[in-house]
Amino acid sequence: MSDKLSISLGTAPYNWGRKRLLEFYLDELADVSADEVYVGNNICHQREILTNEDLKNIAQALNRQGKKGYFSTLTLCTKAEEVDGLNEKCRYFDGVEVNMIGFLNQLKDTDKEIVLGPYLNLYNWKSAAYMQKFHPVKLVASFEIPLDSIADIADKSGIPVEVMAWGNISTALSWRCYTARAVNRSRENCGKICFEYPEGMLLKSVENEDLFRIDGLQVLSAKTHSLIEYLPLLAEKQISSIRIYPSMENTGKIVDVFRQVIAAHLTAKTGGEQLVSYAPHGVCNGWFLGKPGWEYVAA
């Protein structure tokens, strides 16, 4: 299996703040065995706290570490200033992950590798194949589609497919900032309050069950989506890479477990057991198996 699945790190979820992001990308990642790294902010324009100089430094650091670096775009943009400047932001990276379809207009003449991001709503192989005209190097599967649909896209579209294998799942994006609302502020006057919640805010049901996390404009699952037990199946279905969303503290350890399972130095079951402590609200993988997202089905 080792030659079939590469490991990508998705964008940092939540608002970690500029200092922590720079530490993470410039220092810590040197010891994390990811093949590709996605840098940027998929959620909120006000959270774009890395300067173009920071992005340049991160891209160059990733290059020195032998990792491919991609700039990853916003998803929900309603203002021109949220859309402008993409070519400058991705200048020093190997490529760009597009999460809002209009960004493709700005990339017609680019020499950057284009990755079709998970927020583009490509639910079938024909839609994916339509995107071949933009010469994408990869497509990241929408989070909610099951393996048989993902495999169909991988099989028929001719585009290598990446699948999310670890992290809290983004389940909704809104015009409203839920974090600001939680502290009685508007989105326009949020004061970047999400910076004070670098792991989001836990939403429990009225029966005290952990259901979601709110984080700025998005609602995430409280549970951690995990496909550690399904890595052999992913390789068998011609999936080219898996995506792990980083965490504030344990990214290196989590990637290491996935790496060992891919290399068959650990069984998938043992890998799953080792990851339990990094998923404080439990694990889920229902969407991958065509079930409600919160369910977990052991392989």
């Binding site: 709503n121 639910y123 909610e144 015009w175």
Partner: protein, 358 residues
């Protein structure tokens, strides 16, 4: 239809032929509906059209000079792709004027195979900025763009200045708080996705448990609970109900609040509507600003609603559109219009927050 139009077009939903006729007879310029299949995103039991009913609907509308649109706005997977292609073929075959689409494969199919069908970009495509709109215009020559309810009037004005495609906005009905096409809350809890199956927290997943409080659950996950006196306090009109009727009313109350974005959750400050209060959209008082911003069609939401709703709301908005066309500088909203709208959502209050600020 161009941006030089003299008045708003009024786009009205129909869940069945009775609704279609109510829309047509009450002042709609366009009636939109779906086939009874997962090809559209109001795939609820008991609504939508067979091919024969759709043909009959188109015929009825054509005789009145009203446009017919078929909504085929799901994101099909695998085998559903062929079903959606077939739905576009059927829309053409029955003589519909246009289709409402969001999936790239369906847009491509329609453009290549049925260029005479007008393409309305569905709200589900989530095109809420000029670059996204231009993408769909350049790639598929879409004729109209239906804006998601995530853009303010000011943002609409900026978008409108930089595109020639006419823009449609939601004017009345249920209000999604999350961006259309980007909400998988129902999918996460029930396994049925708004994007693919076309349903959101459907009744079949709803259950109640009555102990000291009334609990409502979706697929086993508690979305709300009320003590009887709390229902009385929370509801705007339940104050006068006798105790014995409160539980019955409470069940009705909770059925209408079953969406996960309108659930109550526990956060640090206790139980509250953390994502959205239960409100409905009513833009009657906002028509001048929407026109000024460049909106040229008003969309009434509610293909799942009955003919009474369709007829009543269409009459009110048709009157408002006429009044604004005839006297744009003296446009006012009489109480009778607001009251008629309020009767469609008696438990809750109207809102235009999504268009005014964030």
């Amino acid at each position: 239809m161009t941006k030089k139009a003299k008045k708003f077009m009024l786009h009205v939903p129909a869940g069945n032929l009775e609704c279609l006729k109510a829309a047509a007879d009450s002042g709609a310029d366009v009636v939109y509906w779906g086939f009874n299949s997962p090809s559209n995103l109001r795939n609820f039991p008991g609504i939508n059209f067979s091919c024969e009913e759709a043909f009959s609907g188109v015929d009825y509308l054509q005789r009145k000079g009203i446009k017919s649109l078929i909504t085929i706005n799901s994101y099909p997977q695998k085998d559903q792709l062929a079903l959606c292609f077939e739905a576009i073929d059927q829309a053409h075959a029955i003589g519909a004027d246009g289709v409402v689409l969001s999936d790239l494969a369906l847009l491509e199919y329609c453009k290549n195979n049925h260029p005479q069908l007008e393409i309305y970009l569905s709200v589900q495509a989530g095109a809420c900025n000029t670059e996204a709109i231009n993408f769909y215009v350049n790639e598929f020559a879409v004729d109209w763009v239906i804006l998601p309810r995530v853009v303010t009037v000011d943002e609409i004005a900026r978008i409108s200045k930089s595109t020639d495609v006419p823009l449609e906005a939601f004017a009345f009905g249920s209000l999604c708080i999350n961006c259309e096409g980007k909400c998988q809350l129902s999918s996460y809890i029930t396994g049925e996705s708004t994007n693919t199956i076309g349903t959101c927290s459907t009744h079949k997943f709803l259950s109640f448990h009555q102990a000291d409080k009334i609990y409502a659950r979706i697929n086993g996950k508690a979305i709300n609970c009320f003590a009887p006196d709390e229902i009385k306090q929370d509801a705007h009109f339940a104050g006068g109900l006798p105790q014995e009727e409160l539980h019955q009313w409470g069940n009705h109350f909770l059925i209408n609040r079953r969406q996960l974005c309108k659930a109550r959750y526990l956060l640090h400050d206790g139980k509250s509507y953390r994502l959205n209060n239960y409100v409905y959209l009513n833009t009657l008082e906002l028509l001048p600003q929407l026109w000024q911003a460049g909106i040229r069609a008003l969309k009434i939401e509610g293909r799942q609603r009955n003919a009474g709703y369709v007829g009543e709301v269409t009459k009110v908005f048709a009157a408002a559109v006429r009044a604004f066309r005839d006297h744009p500088d003296n446009y006012t909203v009489p109480d009778s219009w607001m009251d008629a709208c309020r009767r469609q959502f008696p438990e809750i209050v109207p809102s235009t927050t999504c268009y005014l600020g964030k």
